[in-house]
């Protein structure tokens, strides 16, 4: 399994992303609950890039590559832009999110709790975020 998706920077594309991921995950042993969570985590990273790094400019795009090495599903999300280092992001305290009536800040928290490993690398123009989810092969 090695599948790529080019995702244009428009939040209307997120439904398309979910369909793509759903069909990829059907090939794995993940349960319905786990599949939804993995889709959610990948979407959160992509939505974050679309909205914050690319300001919903539909002429720009990010690239998603899905791989299964037998032990892990690997979601590689590549973009050319400002870059967002998910590893350096400080999780907000959930009670602060409520007090501040913030509507954001929860997405990265979800990603970190759902995925088993996260990597980030950037050379200044090209940024790569890799999300790993452990699986048992079918």
């Amino acid at each position: 399994m090695n599948k790529e998706l080019r995702l244009y920077c428009d939040t209307d594309q997120l439904a398309h992303l979910r369909q793509f991921l759903d069909s990829r995950l059907k090939e794995t042993s993940l349960s319905e609950v786990d599949s939804l969570q993995v889709i959610l985590a990948v979407e959160e990273v992509c939505a974050n890039l679309i909205i914050h790094s690319h300001e919903c400019n539909p002429s720009e795009y990010i690239e998603l590559n899905v791989n299964n090495n037998g032990n892990s599903l690997i979601f590689e999300i590549k973009d050319y832009g400002r870059g967002f280092n998910i590893l350096e992001y400080q999780e907000p305290n959930i009670t602060h999110v409520i007090k501040a009536k913030r509507k954001g800040g929860l997405g990265i928290m979800l990603v970190k709790r759902i995925m088993d490993k996260i990597e980030f690398e950037s050379n200044g123009t090209k940024n790569i975020c890799r999300l790993f989810k452990n699986v048992v092969s079918k």
């Binding site: 997120l14 939804l36 959160e44 999110v97 409520i98 007090k99 928290m109």
Partner: protein, 112 residues
């Protein structure tokens, strides 16, 4: 796709959610809650039986009202969440912070 119906009962309103809430349409959920509040209604049920997906954008909408609801004694109860969607609330501990019930009957009881 997200479809929201606002159903008025004698003592409360029900927002019936159908489809998926993500960053592209969470403003619709926000608008629906706000319009119920604008009608002066302080008891709200959210029928989530046909909600297939929610991302942080949608969860954030619910969370952004928690404080205001507490201050003004407004009650919002979600019921009928599918297990896969409920587990997303659990990851963030929102099941402890929000009123979530299995059935409509329990949710109506919680509104009292």
């Amino acid at each position: 796709m997200l479809d929201i119906k606002n159903i008025k009962e004698a003592n409360y309103s029900t927002l019936q959610l159908e489809g998926e809430v993500d960053a592209s349409n969470s403003v619709e959920l926000d608008g629906a809650i706000q319009s119920v509040l604008d009608e002066g209604i302080d008891r709200i049920l959210v029928d989530a039986r046909q909600l297939d997906y929610i991302s942080s954008a949608g969860l954030g909408v619910f969370m952004s009202y928690l404080e205001e609801f507490q201050e003004k004694n407004i009650k919002l109860v979600i019921y009928g969440l599918q297990e896969k969607v409920y587990q997303v609330f659990v990851i963030l501990g929102l099941d402890k912070l929000m009123a979530i019930k299995s059935s409509e009957e329990e949710a109506i009881e919680e509104l009292k």
